[in-house]
């Protein structure tokens, strides 16, 4: 193999680092998206036997949005292996204990249970907030697009924007806002 071809090989199989902002995203839909990047399914060179998966850094996993009443209804099962060792943890409770766990489990269960799954999961880096170690962040060269827009809350608008927003009426001066 010539020097040029060797470099070509490195370029084609280079591992890319992606970053994904999980704020206001459905973790189960996000898992299907992230799985493609982790396994390398988005690449034209993909083959189950070639190791072409990428790294994904997920930030703000603490701000994920579960649909409907899943925070209350979704239960995570664990068994210690001892008699009476079964336990069911509700999603909000699990999220309180570890804000990355729901997304981690969602990605893990979105993939087929084969020998490669544990190694693929090693390439997923989850952070409950925006604080990512600089040595990881400097590798990143792509941002994965979110699957739904982040809603803008009233306190995200500036004072100026709020004043200029069209109003039907002005409250009387002696009106008490509760």
């Amino acid at each position: 193999m010539s020097a040029l071809k060797r470099v070509q090989q490195w370029a084609t199989f280079a591992r890319i680092w992606h970053v994904y902002d999980a704020a206001w995203q459905n973790p189960f839909h996000s898992a299907k998206l992230l799985k493609k990047y982790l396994m390398g399914l988005h690449k034209p060179i993909y083959h189950p036997l070639n190791d072409c998966g990428d790294h994904v850094i997920v930030i703000n996993t603490g701000d994920i949005a579960l649909p409907e009443d899943e925070w209350k209804k979704r239960a995570y099962f664990h068994h210690t292996g001892y008699p009476g060792g079964a336990s069911w943890t509700v999603a909000w409770e699990l999220h309180d204990k570890d804000p990355t766990m729901i997304l981690k489990k969602a990605v893990y269960s979105s993939m087929d249970g084969n020998l490669q799954r544990r190694y693929t999961m090693e390439r997923l880096h989850l952070f409950p907030d925006g604080k990512v170690p600089a040595d990881l962040m400097k590798n990143v060269s792509n941002q994965i697009q979110q699957i739904r827009p982040v809603p803008k809350r009233l306190d995200h608008y500036s004072e100026q924007e709020r004043k200029e927003f069209p109003k039907l009426i002005d409250y009387p001066k002696d009106y008490i806002l509760r």
Binding site: A11, A14, P44, Q145
Partner: protein, 183 residues
């Protein structure tokens, strides 16, 4: 089921040092015709040796031809190639024409084709003119300068108008028409 193929050499089709481009070097170096002088199965081989072998040797001065008579054994062609391969062809009950054709095949081969499995029926040293894909092909060069995490790049591609946006749009359009009415 036979497993003999699993130790078979395998690879891609190739031409030894661009043979045939500018000059041609016959890759067959040595051929041994083994036959019996009495046995009926060697009749075609004997006829070939009598009538055609001299011409073959004259036409191919690069090929060393050996004859090996041996009693009561089946006729065989053993060919040795420039790359070290050795091919063995059984010529039991072959006619003169058959042997001539087999010998011609061995002469034009570049090695032992029976001891080699082709992984693909075609091969090229340059599979792509534009170069193989890399993660950076088809990427927007502007992303090289982007700071990550990037809120602009993170936004979904398809963004529908929110109710707030529509309300503001209606409000603005009404204001413009009001101004026109005044003028």
């Amino acid at each position: 089921m036979s497993n003999s193929h699993i130790f078979l050499k395998s690879g891609f089709i190739r031409t030894p040092s661009q043979n045939g481009v500018g000059r041609y070097v016959c890759q067959l170096q040595r051929v041994v015709l083994k036959f019996c002088k009495n046995n009926g199965s060697s009749r075609g081989m004997r006829e070939f040796v009598e009538s055609e072998l001299i011409n073959f040797a004259k036409n191919n001065p690069g090929v060393v031809v050996y004859l090996k008579p041996r009693r009561h054994r089946a006729p065989v062609i053993s060919a040795e190639f420039l790359n070290g391969d050795k091919q063995w062809v059984s010529c039991h009950n072959y006619s003169k024409q058959d042997i001539s054709k087999w010998l011609n095949l061995l002469r034009t081969q570049s090695g032992n084709t029976t001891g080699f499995r082709l992984r693909k029926l075609q091969h090229t040293d340059h599979p792509s003119i534009q170069g193989p894909w890399t993660p950076y092909t088809f990427k927007d060069p502007a992303e090289n300068l982007a700071e990550y995490p990037n809120t602009e790049l993170s936004k979904p591609k398809i963004q529908l108008k929110t109710a707030t946006d529509e309300l503001l749009e209606i409000f603005n359009s009404v204001q413009i028409s009001d101004k026109k009415g005044v003028e």
